[in-house]
């Protein structure tokens, strides 16, 4: 079992994607199938960008075992009021600044769901959000 840990700064688009990039490098070193790596890092990157775009700060913990990868993204921020609505393609509350960076189409959460085996979202308005994403590694 291997665990990777990252701190994410809200609002900082310059560094957004650094954690996902490190995870991608690690998975490549572990010789995981490239199609599987792509799905995992796209989901993680969407989650990482969401922390940068919508929260104040966050943590990413990635646990890799021979069978599964579990990615836990916890943030402090405004939280999500209606998770079902947030999961709908096209729903976005992204700011103008986020849109200028090429994000804010309301496609991130549905895309995460598409790329992982299991997605759990817990959120408390005014406190923060926790995403747990799980992907099997042993059947490609």
């Amino acid at each position: 079992m291997m665990t990777l840990h990252f701190h994410i700064e809200g609002g900082n688009f310059t560094n957004a994607g650094f954690a996902s990039s490190q995870v991608k490098k690690t998975l490549k070193q572990l010789n995981i199938d490239s199609g599987l790596i792509k799905k995992i890092v796209i989901a993680l990157y969407e989650g990482e960008v969401n922390i940068v775009a919508h929260a104040l700060k966050g943590e990413i913990v990635v646990e890799i075992s021979p069978e599964t990868i579990t990615m836990i993204l916890t943030d402090e921020g405004k939280g999500i009021d209606n998770i079902e609505l947030a999961m709908k393609e096209g729903f976005s509350t992204a700011s103008q600044k986020v849109r200028e960076m090429g994000f804010g189409a309301g496609m991130g959460l549905p895309n995460i769901k598409k790329n992982v085996d299991q997605l759990f979202i817990e959120s408390t308005v005014g406190v923060g959000t926790k995403l747990t994403m799980i992907k099997q590694l042993d059947h490609a």
Binding site: F13, G17, S20, S21, K38, I42, Y45, M101, G102, G108
Partner: protein, 113 residues
Amino acid sequence: MNLIELIELVNAKIVAGNPDHRIIEKAFCSDLMSDVLTIDTDQLLLITGMANVQTIRTAEMADIHAILLVRNKKASPDMIKLAKENNLVLFETSISMFHAAGKLYTAGLKPVY
């Protein structure tokens, strides 16, 4: 299509990477990175007017190895550095997205959808 030939067709200037021996089959035009992240296609060219570090990060995650910046959008030093680290070919042209797409479509590049 050979990437070198493609770059000549749109009169682009390479700012990072080496196009040698790379083949591109399809292209996707978008300024919306969340849209680019939904595509699962190999040997894809991204044509975009969105020039920032997240454009390069998005390509890294989506396994895209060629990016054309249109309409005189310039790659920043940070973008060039990250593109090189990820073995990505980044090139700039003065022509518009529509013009570049038209030329490349006519020359045989295929759309994703």
